[in-house]
Symmetry: C4
Subunit: 276 residues, 4 copies
Amino acid sequence: MDKEIKPCTTCPWREQLYRIIFESDSGAAKLFDLLLIVAISASVGVVMLDSIRLVREEWLLQLNALEWLFTLIFTLEYLARLLAVDRPLQYARSFFGIIDLLAILPTYFTAFIPATAYMVVIRLLRILRIFRILKLGAYIGEADIIIRSLQASRKKIEVFLCAVLTLVVIFGSLMYVIEGEDHGFTSIPRSVYWAIVTLTTVGYGDISPQTGLGQMLASIIMVCGFGIIAVPTGIVSAEMVRTASREESFIICANCHDRFHAPHASYCKSCGHKLE
Amino acid sequence: MDKEIKPCTTCPWREQLYRIIFESDSGAAKLFDLLLIVAISASVGVVMLDSIRLVREEWLLQLNALEWLFTLIFTLEYLARLLAVDRPLQYARSFFGIIDLLAILPTYFTAFIPATAYMVVIRLLRILRIFRILKLGAYIGEADIIIRSLQASRKKIEVFLCAVLTLVVIFGSLMYVIEGEDHGFTSIPRSVYWAIVTLTTVGYGDISPQTGLGQMLASIIMVCGFGIIAVPTGIVSAEMVRTASREESFIICANCHDRFHAPHASYCKSCGHKLE
Amino acid sequence: MDKEIKPCTTCPWREQLYRIIFESDSGAAKLFDLLLIVAISASVGVVMLDSIRLVREEWLLQLNALEWLFTLIFTLEYLARLLAVDRPLQYARSFFGIIDLLAILPTYFTAFIPATAYMVVIRLLRILRIFRILKLGAYIGEADIIIRSLQASRKKIEVFLCAVLTLVVIFGSLMYVIEGEDHGFTSIPRSVYWAIVTLTTVGYGDISPQTGLGQMLASIIMVCGFGIIAVPTGIVSAEMVRTASREESFIICANCHDRFHAPHASYCKSCGHKLE
Amino acid sequence: MDKEIKPCTTCPWREQLYRIIFESDSGAAKLFDLLLIVAISASVGVVMLDSIRLVREEWLLQLNALEWLFTLIFTLEYLARLLAVDRPLQYARSFFGIIDLLAILPTYFTAFIPATAYMVVIRLLRILRIFRILKLGAYIGEADIIIRSLQASRKKIEVFLCAVLTLVVIFGSLMYVIEGEDHGFTSIPRSVYWAIVTLTTVGYGDISPQTGLGQMLASIIMVCGFGIIAVPTGIVSAEMVRTASREESFIICANCHDRFHAPHASYCKSCGHKLE
């Protein structure tokens, strides 16, 4: 996403700014990342506290002050980012550019229109920025294995989700017909919601079958869910076993630089050159 | 199932119709598949909306019109299918032939007998048709691996389900004796239902043990369920690891007859001979 | 268990009886097994129906008649088993011998003492007999793999259960101190029960934390449970992958008849003889 | 942790005491371990029973007597430990030294200040001592594989938990905005708690969405949770498969240097050379 964003090359101090804000090699850059994580976490905490009625009534002024402080900090950061990059508009239109802007706008709006207070919640999206920072850090390799495993099994999971949706619609409709509106199954969408709650083994109990036939059908769905839960786990497990074993046999051919040979291979799989 | 259904060979335009409806190679056939998926999804949406009391009361006329529109579309499609195949009766008696018919009948019935309104729910079975279309498409390979894994572990899962059923009957009966009718365990079937709800970790909470002894037994069932959930997952995972690895690497070297080469290998890992 | 039970060898027709009742090779033996499964299932059904108040009040006579019928059948079967074996006392004291006796006694007792009606539930234990019959049948291999996998990972699962129990006692006690008796956590055993309900992701909701601190701790337990559920699954999966792959490389050495060689092995692992 | 704690070497009977208390080779040491496990389990039982109001009111004197008895036993054990080690202060400041002290202090305190009765719960931490004893025993190998597997996948699990936390904060805030305070989602922290309860498939049902939009979002979270539960399981499974297979087969042939032989192999699978 942000990959194409390049530093400003004409001005040395703006290039320096880019190094600190967008990269994480130098000490100053690492300090900036750390401070940003702290600021984002603290601002998330403030938004959360602000939503608790008792806390809001007691500490209204302090919370407002903190909200304006964080808005100021994030505004400065946003301006610094615009300044550091080669083409500011490109950054402003990138995924994180939009989130950075959305995180500061609500507070300014609420200064004029009090009704938009809910929009402060948008600020919470900023915690996605923490991921971006971590991605540059030590966890990149580990996150990569998980993401690659999920990507490799994406199609299998799509097929699986499609099957689950069909099951849930059919079972939900059946329960709507069997239990009827008197037992909480007031419409098909609500029955489908119940089927999802049951199949995923969440089981709130806000809607539950009352008739014998309904309970029998529910039992079948539950046992199905039991078997079905095994499928995505199996898919991801198999993929991870494969990814992990592939990683382990990471031998590079001296001739063609090809990687990922079979375990205990003696010859390169791509060019036939002898491996050491 | 529909495998044996062949196109009409005597009449060119009916053969052409078969190509469009039953296959998915040409552009027209793909457009037909897409339109059918849209029509089925939309008709499912209408049935769902129709089941919500508030929506039904507000938009009765519009929903009725849409229902008749989709019934008309599906009737035309049904007639086209009958026309396209070599032996119409064979199609009419096939699994999807029956579902296609069942999907259009309820609306015609309700025109005369209003009491059969519930039968519209049968139309939802048409979403199975979506699977049939997808099966011809890009997902066939992925779905195949899942289905083959499940088939290979079918017997293991049957043994497992048998064991679960026995456990559930014994634990359910014990709870019936321990907790009794006063705490919601009014009969053995109901207690068995509770045991299934607990063992599958759904846990509605509509029935839950009240006595100390009952809670102790329930704890044992839960910990059992914890261990038991591992078994189908283990079965499917093992099967998927095997299916995936078998698929990936069953290439035999013509020179040294060595097997299990790296994925996409061009040369034998043992003797360096070129693989075909 | 019943392994040591031998047929009566002195009397031919009793030996013949043993073949039919205890083995499952001949047609008569298979028919006997089938009839026994039907009879056991039907008698389980009768016990279940009998526990539903409405059914019992309506069909009292019929259910009683069926109960006596099945008691008669099982009594005859029990006598036949005693007759068929070499040493009747040995059978009578075996695990299944005791269950077979317990299944028929309650009905006779209730004829004299009506208060023991609950004892009919003991008959349900007879469904374990179905397992015994299946074990002789086609499912023996599949059940074997599951049982062997579970046995191989028995020690790991014991360590794991021990850790879970400790976690549950500590978390339960903490919640007892935090939430107190006013929010349903009336005693430590009850709090431990709640912790088990939560950790296993069952979540009845009959007891749930009300205070902010309690909900925070509960969240930690849930995320722990999320991670913990992965451990037994991982154990069983790993064991099944291993068992399955061992099975696959089922090559028998022509020299020493040793089995389970490494995949693509050229020499026997036990005697060094060349494998074909 | 306790690794560095050494026996007192100047005094033979204190060295002997160390052998009995801290090691588990001799018969006396094994007896001591067994008695300690029994004493800890029994004292945990007393604390639990004491928390049940009915039991406390009935058996107040007996429970108090038992509490003092166990306090005395643990005090003697604590003194013996102090005596046995080379440097008593080092033991007193170790993890288990602190727990051992905390387990006896509450009872002495309650003799003077009755309000600290809750502190008896601290004694429950002593069950961690049971682990320490088991660690020396037969289960060390098995526990090791589990711990090593978890350690090897620690970073992956951290990345995963970080992703789950972000999801839960975003989904929780969304539900707070959608459902509002009238439907139980009274603050963002409480909504996040609900999101955790849902994502981990616990599903108490104390808070559950009432509006159609809320139920739709909840359904998405549940299906996400379904997929997400597969990730840690996949991580641990893959790690266990790897650990198990590595352990089993890392034997190198002295003749052809081939690795990964069958378990318990005596001869090389590639050249037939005898393995050591």
